[in-house]
Amino acid sequence: MSADAEERRQLGARFDELYRRGSRARLARITRRALPRAVEAGLYASLVLPLGLIATALLARAGGPNPRDFGWLQALAGMAAISAAVVAVRLYVARSRPVERAEVLGECDRLLEADGRLLAADDFVRAGATGPFVAAALEEGRTQLDRANGLQFPAGPDVPGVRARSFVAAAAALMLAWFVTRGEVPPVDQLADTDTAIVPALPTNPEQHVPEKPVESEPPAPQEPRADQPTKPATRGERAELASEGTPPSDHVKDSKGRTKGGRSSAAKSSSGSGASRGAPSSQSQESAESEEKAAPGKRPKEGKAEEPESERKQDEDASGATAGRGSGSGSTKNPATSDWTSKDHVEAQPDDDQGEDADVDDEESDSEARGGVQPSLRDRRPPVNRDLQIGFASGRPDPDANGRGGPSPQKKSRGVASLVLGVPIPDHIKGRANPGRTKVTQERVEPEAEDSTPAVAESRRARETSAGTIERHELTPWMRELVRKYFERPETAKETTE
């Protein structure tokens, strides 16, 4: 081995040693910088276990494991283990990034103010470069290596510590774990009987806990399915009925029960069972509101359907608009002033909020079921659909047949473009001949007046003696022209322009 090669090998070994020192210092700095963030992540991760226990509590409703099988100490140990694992992983990830040789030697250059001499010399040694300038660079690198022997790597800038919010998260995790493991979990029947699922299972006030009951306790008697009722889960309507137990049902309720099937008539019972609905006319709306509060929203159409026979029976009275004093859940929307069409098969127009599509489907189903499912729908006996798009007659009187739905009703509403014009009936087209229309010609008689004018006298003019001054030019400067051109050449702008 030549002396030159041996010299290079020794130089390379010294660079390797400097790199090892520098990388150790760099890793220590990385660890110091990553530790607070890793601890924060660990504290946040301690929330995982309590949240998992909450999920277990939810599963307990479905027969899963009970979170109380976890002990408080077990949960605490689990949280600590999870946090420690997260901290370890974060630190490992931070330290696993390889420390590049260039970074370490570049930092040494910066600390020694060597202007890249160390980096260049190390590069030339490892690449085996030769030449006069390489040799000179190696000599300079050797000199800088001597200086680097006593180099102290800085500890790095101050790193912000662990933020307080992560401690808050950890404290919350501890509290959650304590409540879940030491707290009370309501039995399955209570969970099923309430609409709120999670919060009652995790009470925040241990003093208000109900006594501990086994989760697998038998459901109460009202939950048992009866032979004459479908095995459907308890609905809000049934609970409302149970709540109003003791109030004698009205005759109307009994009629409804007799004509409808068991479980499906619950809404009708609860709504029409309000005895105050036959009270004074002035309290009609309030009573209806109460009924609606008690009844489920999806069941309101059935309420109207349950009363349909009655409304059919009182058809003549309804047609005259005499509904005052007979409050019902939906009320009467009949307007005698806008419709004079009376028929045996007349179907009242229900308010829009009570005539959803779902409601129609339910109505048809219940109708068919009430009649044994063999009678045709009432709609089959309706008059043919009026397809006239004209809103009103020529006299301006509203067309009672034009409701846009193919049947007699009050004035058409909320259909087509005309509905956008607020209440102004505008025909779709105007019959007649196209012409400019009437022309109003106004004639005014004005006496002519003479005007004074100064005639221009031709004369010889000399050239301008002074400067014309700055002539303003309105054209764009080249860079502005270029800017505008580029703007209009943009794909988006071109598209907008063509559109």
Partner: protein, 338 residues
């Protein structure tokens, strides 16, 4: 070859470079007041074998700088004042009919002003693209072609073009292909207040400054060889490449500003220019290898005319220098990102 001997040669060459450059700078400095960065840039381009585009408002001494440099290095100097009606033959030269000694006639090539060592292309953006393009071959290939005849241009060959950024009426912006052929684009700014006094004393007095030639073409060529022999560590090459890639939209090292506001980034010529100019910087600093700091110190001059802003960048009022600043901040030198 012993390690000690070769290092001594390198030291001598580097020392010679610094001395010659110092002499030229002193001579140019007798005429020019201030503008140290511009003078350094012009000298770096001369020693690196590149061309320079000088941009500045009128009256800042751009033409005088180049003329002074031509006087100081004793090179064949020519000046071309570009105008919109100038044709390529006006600068390259053309075949003219001359009478021979025997009484006959023949076509002989009459050289244009482009045939010189140091060419001052004054207000280059006033020429039409046709004439501007006539410079392309001269700048890149160091040769001109007239008809079927190709002539090599004398070495050292250096084009120093000036353009005025304000008076843009009736001008033709240089195409990107030509801009890319300039090693540097140097922005000539206003002198400092203290420099005004010196400028006034030198230019309004009775004393006439004469510039002595302190170098010649052969010496410039020899020093160009010295510059090219400066080695570049692999780390520095990597850093230069990353800087260039960072100017390209969507590049691996590009900052968001580049992706959003740049239409065209630097070509590989930009990386070549970074290293060549970095070598000059290393010799000036007394080092024998190019460091990352050398490359970064010339990044603005090398990259600012190679970055073309898109519409969004122009509407945001960005300049290519802003983009280069963002690139330098986004791509730290080794050891800086500790």
């Amino acid at each position: 070859m012993s390690m000690q001997g070769t290092a001594e040669d390198a030291r001598r060459a580097a020392q010679e470079f610094r001395e010659v450059e110092g002499k030229i700078r002193d001579q140019v400095g007798r005429m020019m007041v201030g503008q140290r960065d511009v003078i350094d840039g012009v000298l770096a381009a001369l020693f690196a074998g590149g061309h320079v585009l000088l941009e500045g408002v009128p009256g800042l001494g751009k033409t005088m700088l180049v003329r002074s440099l031509g006087d100081a290095v004793h090179l064949a100097f020519s000046r071309i004042q570009f105008t919109p009606d100038m044709m390529p033959a006006d600068i390259r030269g053309t075949q003219v009919l001359v009478e021979t000694e025997g009484g006959g006639h023949e076509l002989r090539f009459q050289e244009g002003p482009l045939v010189a060592n140091l060419v001052l292309a004054d207000e280059i953006n006033r020429a039409t693209p046709k004439t501007q393009s006539a410079l392309l071959e001269a700048m890149q290939e160091r040769q001109i072609t007239v008809g079927k005849e190709t002539r090599k241009l004398p070495e050292p060959y250096c084009v120093m073009a000036t353009q005025n950024p304000v008076e843009q009426e009736g001008t033709y912006p240089l195409p990107e292909a030509q801009l890319d052929r300039f090693l540097f684009k140097l922005v000539v700014g206003y002198p400092a207040e203290a420099e005004y006094h010196e400028i006034l004393d030198r230019t309004t007095g009775s004393e006439t400054v004469r510039i002595e030639p302190v170098s010649d073409a052969a010496e410039i060529l020899r020093l160009r060889e010295v510059v090219r022999s400066v080695p570049v560590p692999e780390t520095t090459k990597t850093h230069a490449v990353r800087l260039v890639v960072a100017t390209q939209p969507g590049g691996e090292w590009s900052p968001d500003l580049v992706t959003e506001s740049v239409a065209l980034g630097s070509s590989p010529r930009g990386a070549q220019a970074l290293l060549l100019a970095g070598k000059v910087q290393a010799l000036r600093a007394g080092r024998f290898a190019v460091s990352c700091e050398d490359v970064r110190s010339v990044a603005h001059a090398v990259l600012r005319h190679r970055v073309i802003l898109n519409f969004q960048g122009q509407s945001d009022g960005l300049t290519p220098d802003d983009v280069v600043n963002a690139v330098l901040a986004h791509v730290p030198a080794p050891g800086d990102a500790a």
